[in-house]
Protein backbone atom coordinates (compact mmCIF):
# COMPACT_ATOMS: atom_id res chain seq x y z
CA UNK A 1 0.00 0.00 0.00
CA UNK A 2 1.18 3.49 -0.73
CA UNK A 3 1.90 6.08 1.94
CA UNK A 4 2.99 9.69 2.13
CA UNK A 5 4.99 11.37 4.85
CA UNK A 6 5.14 15.09 5.38
CA UNK A 7 7.56 15.39 8.29
CA UNK A 8 6.90 19.05 9.03
CA UNK A 9 3.52 19.76 10.61
CA UNK A 10 4.14 23.50 10.92
CA UNK A 11 6.59 25.77 9.14
CA UNK A 12 7.06 29.51 9.60
CA UNK A 13 8.95 31.61 7.08
CA UNK A 14 9.39 35.32 6.56
CA UNK A 15 7.83 36.94 3.54
CA UNK A 16 10.35 36.98 0.73
CA UNK A 17 12.28 34.02 2.05
CA UNK A 18 12.59 30.76 0.18
CA UNK A 19 10.46 27.77 1.04
CA UNK A 20 10.85 24.03 0.83
CA UNK A 21 8.17 21.62 2.01
CA UNK A 22 9.21 18.02 2.30
CA UNK A 23 7.32 15.01 1.04
CA UNK A 24 8.39 11.39 1.02
CA UNK A 25 6.33 8.62 -0.45
CA UNK A 26 6.20 4.88 -0.47
CA UNK A 27 4.86 3.20 -3.56
CA UNK A 28 5.74 0.04 -5.41
CA UNK A 29 5.66 1.41 -8.93
CA UNK A 30 6.11 4.70 -10.73
CA UNK A 31 4.04 7.10 -8.69
CA UNK A 32 1.73 9.86 -9.72
CA UNK A 33 2.52 12.72 -7.36
CA UNK A 34 0.56 15.82 -6.50
CA UNK A 35 0.73 18.89 -4.33
CA UNK A 36 -2.50 20.52 -3.22
CA UNK A 37 -3.05 23.66 -1.17
CA UNK A 38 -5.93 24.52 1.08
CA UNK A 39 -6.28 28.14 2.07
CA UNK A 40 -8.41 29.02 5.12
CA UNK A 41 -12.07 28.32 4.38
CA UNK A 42 -11.29 27.13 0.89
CA UNK A 43 -11.21 23.82 -0.90
CA UNK A 44 -8.23 21.89 -2.21
CA UNK A 45 -6.48 23.51 -5.13
CA UNK A 46 -4.04 21.62 -7.30
CA UNK A 47 -0.62 23.28 -7.34
CA UNK A 48 1.23 20.84 -9.56
CA UNK A 49 1.50 17.22 -10.54
CA UNK A 50 4.06 14.72 -11.73
CA UNK A 51 3.11 11.85 -13.98
CA UNK A 52 6.26 11.18 -16.00
CA UNK A 53 9.06 12.89 -17.91
CA UNK A 54 10.93 15.91 -16.61
CA UNK A 55 11.47 15.46 -12.90
CA UNK A 56 11.28 19.20 -12.19
CA UNK A 57 7.67 20.24 -12.38
CA UNK A 58 6.40 23.80 -12.52
CA UNK A 59 3.08 24.70 -10.97
CA UNK A 60 0.85 27.64 -10.32
CA UNK A 61 1.66 30.58 -8.05
CA UNK A 62 5.40 30.22 -8.65
CA UNK A 63 5.73 26.80 -7.04
CA UNK A 64 7.85 23.96 -8.33
CA UNK A 65 8.59 20.44 -7.16
CA UNK A 66 11.29 17.94 -7.96
CA UNK A 67 10.74 14.21 -8.16
CA UNK A 68 13.73 12.25 -6.88
CA UNK A 69 13.21 8.55 -7.31
CA UNK A 70 16.38 7.61 -5.42
CA UNK A 71 15.14 9.47 -2.36
CA UNK A 72 11.44 8.73 -2.83
CA UNK A 73 10.83 12.42 -2.44
CA UNK A 74 8.74 15.11 -4.09
CA UNK A 75 9.62 18.32 -2.28
CA UNK A 76 7.78 21.55 -2.99
CA UNK A 77 9.74 24.76 -3.38
CA UNK A 78 9.18 28.44 -3.92
CA UNK A 79 12.03 30.96 -4.18
CA UNK A 80 10.21 33.87 -2.54
CA UNK A 81 7.16 33.40 -0.34
CA UNK A 82 4.28 35.87 -0.33
CA UNK A 83 1.97 36.46 2.64
CA UNK A 84 -0.90 35.01 0.60
CA UNK A 85 0.90 31.65 0.52
CA UNK A 86 -0.06 31.03 4.13
CA UNK A 87 -2.15 27.86 3.93
CA UNK A 88 -2.00 24.14 4.44
CA UNK A 89 -0.14 22.10 1.87
CA UNK A 90 -0.79 18.46 1.08
CA UNK A 91 1.36 16.03 -0.83
CA UNK A 92 -0.44 13.08 -2.37
CA UNK A 93 0.43 9.95 -4.31
CA UNK A 94 -1.94 8.44 -6.81
CA UNK A 95 -2.46 4.75 -7.42
CA UNK A 96 -3.79 3.77 -10.78
CA UNK A 97 -6.66 1.41 -10.42
CA UNK A 98 -10.20 0.91 -11.54
CA UNK A 99 -9.79 3.48 -14.23
CA UNK A 100 -8.99 6.32 -11.94
CA UNK A 101 -6.59 7.71 -9.40
CA UNK A 102 -7.08 6.92 -5.74
CA UNK A 103 -5.07 9.46 -3.81
CA UNK A 104 -3.26 8.90 -0.56
CA UNK A 105 -2.51 12.13 1.23
CA UNK A 106 0.09 13.16 3.72
CA UNK A 107 -0.99 14.77 6.96
CA UNK A 108 -0.31 18.24 5.63
CA UNK A 109 2.10 21.06 6.43
CA UNK A 110 0.70 24.28 7.82
CA UNK A 111 2.62 27.25 6.47
CA UNK A 112 2.72 30.52 8.36
CA UNK A 113 4.22 33.60 6.73
CA UNK A 114 5.61 36.34 8.90
CA UNK A 115 5.52 39.86 7.52
Amino acid sequence: AQSVTQPDIHITVSEGASLELRCNYSYGATPYLFWYVQSPGQGLQLLLKYFSGDTLVQGIKGFEAEFKRSQSSFNLRKPSVHWSDAAEYFCAVGAKGGGGNKLTFGTGTQLKVEL
Partner: protein
Amino acid sequence: EAGVTQFPSHSVIEKGQTVTLRCDPISGHDNLYWYRRVMGKEIKFLLHFVKESKQDESGMPNNRFLAERTGGTYSTLKVQPAELEDSGVYFCASSHRTGSGNTIYFGEGSWLTVV
Protein backbone atom coordinates in the same frame (compact mmCIF):
# COMPACT_ATOMS: atom_id res chain seq x y z
CA GLU B 1 -16.15 25.80 -17.09
CA ALA B 2 -17.68 25.24 -13.67
CA GLY B 3 -15.60 23.35 -11.15
CA VAL B 4 -16.69 20.68 -8.72
CA THR B 5 -19.50 22.08 -6.64
CA GLN B 6 -20.64 20.84 -3.27
CA PHE B 7 -23.70 21.56 -1.16
CA PRO B 8 -24.11 22.47 1.61
CA SER B 9 -20.88 24.26 2.33
CA HIS B 10 -21.49 24.05 6.07
CA SER B 11 -23.86 21.95 8.12
CA VAL B 12 -24.41 21.63 11.86
CA ILE B 13 -26.59 18.75 12.98
CA GLU B 14 -27.30 16.90 16.18
CA LYS B 15 -26.05 13.44 16.90
CA GLY B 16 -28.52 10.90 15.54
CA GLN B 17 -29.80 13.12 12.76
CA THR B 18 -29.33 12.55 9.04
CA VAL B 19 -27.35 14.69 6.65
CA THR B 20 -27.10 14.43 2.89
CA LEU B 21 -24.20 16.01 1.05
CA ARG B 22 -24.38 16.65 -2.64
CA CYS B 23 -21.64 16.88 -5.23
CA ASP B 24 -21.83 18.04 -8.84
CA PRO B 25 -18.69 17.01 -10.70
CA ILE B 26 -17.17 18.86 -13.60
CA SER B 27 -19.30 18.27 -16.66
CA GLY B 28 -18.15 15.23 -18.61
CA HIS B 29 -16.13 13.73 -15.78
CA ASP B 30 -16.93 10.06 -15.40
CA ASN B 31 -14.84 9.60 -12.27
CA LEU B 32 -16.21 10.95 -9.01
CA TYR B 33 -14.57 10.58 -5.62
CA TRP B 34 -15.45 11.29 -2.03
CA TYR B 35 -12.79 12.05 0.56
CA ARG B 36 -13.01 13.35 4.08
CA ARG B 37 -10.79 14.98 6.62
CA VAL B 38 -11.65 14.42 10.21
CA MET B 39 -10.28 17.13 12.50
CA GLY B 40 -6.54 16.83 12.92
CA LYS B 41 -6.19 13.85 10.67
CA GLU B 42 -5.17 13.36 7.07
CA ILE B 43 -7.49 13.48 4.10
CA LYS B 44 -8.77 9.98 3.46
CA PHE B 45 -10.36 8.33 0.48
CA LEU B 46 -13.93 7.14 0.93
CA LEU B 47 -15.07 5.87 -2.45
CA HIS B 48 -14.84 6.17 -6.20
CA PHE B 49 -17.57 6.10 -8.83
CA VAL B 50 -17.08 5.50 -12.50
CA LYS B 51 -20.26 6.86 -13.96
CA GLU B 52 -23.01 5.36 -11.82
CA SER B 53 -21.02 2.35 -10.65
CA LYS B 54 -19.12 2.13 -7.39
CA GLN B 55 -15.60 1.23 -8.43
CA ASP B 56 -14.01 1.24 -5.02
CA GLU B 57 -15.73 1.82 -1.70
CA SER B 58 -12.97 0.48 0.48
CA GLY B 59 -12.69 3.70 2.43
CA MET B 60 -16.28 3.92 3.61
CA PRO B 61 -16.05 3.79 7.41
CA ASN B 62 -19.25 1.89 8.19
CA ASN B 63 -22.79 1.26 7.04
CA ARG B 64 -24.01 4.60 8.34
CA PHE B 65 -22.57 6.09 5.17
CA LEU B 66 -24.38 5.65 1.86
CA ALA B 67 -23.19 7.11 -1.42
CA GLU B 68 -25.16 7.18 -4.62
CA ARG B 69 -24.68 8.47 -8.12
CA THR B 70 -27.88 7.80 -9.97
CA GLY B 71 -27.59 8.47 -13.70
CA GLY B 72 -23.87 9.01 -13.43
CA THR B 73 -24.09 12.74 -12.90
CA TYR B 74 -24.27 14.24 -9.42
CA SER B 75 -23.62 12.22 -6.29
CA THR B 76 -24.97 12.25 -2.77
CA LEU B 77 -23.37 11.06 0.44
CA LYS B 78 -25.80 10.37 3.26
CA VAL B 79 -24.79 9.92 6.86
CA GLN B 80 -27.51 8.26 8.94
CA PRO B 81 -27.46 8.45 11.89
CA ALA B 82 -24.66 10.94 12.34
CA GLU B 83 -22.19 10.48 15.18
CA LEU B 84 -19.83 12.99 16.78
CA GLU B 85 -16.80 11.41 15.10
CA ASP B 86 -18.30 12.11 11.67
CA SER B 87 -17.48 15.79 12.04
CA GLY B 88 -15.02 17.00 9.47
CA VAL B 89 -14.71 18.19 5.92
CA TYR B 90 -16.11 16.06 3.14
CA PHE B 91 -14.46 16.66 -0.20
CA CYS B 92 -15.80 15.62 -3.53
CA ALA B 93 -13.53 15.37 -6.54
CA SER B 94 -13.80 14.41 -10.17
CA SER B 95 -11.58 13.47 -13.06
CA HIS B 96 -12.11 12.92 -16.74
CA ARG B 97 -9.87 10.25 -18.05
CA THR B 98 -9.73 6.67 -17.04
CA GLY B 99 -6.38 5.01 -16.72
CA SER B 100 -3.13 6.81 -16.15
CA GLY B 101 -2.46 10.49 -15.98
CA ASN B 102 -5.78 11.92 -15.00
CA THR B 103 -5.88 14.99 -12.83
CA ILE B 104 -8.30 15.05 -9.94
CA TYR B 105 -10.10 18.31 -9.21
CA PHE B 106 -11.55 18.92 -5.80
CA GLY B 107 -14.51 20.92 -4.64
CA GLU B 108 -14.47 23.34 -1.75
CA GLY B 109 -15.76 20.75 0.67
CA SER B 110 -18.78 20.34 2.87
CA TRP B 111 -17.92 21.17 6.47
CA LEU B 112 -19.97 18.95 8.77
CA THR B 113 -20.26 19.49 12.50
CA VAL B 114 -22.13 16.96 14.59
CA VAL B 115 -23.05 18.20 18.08
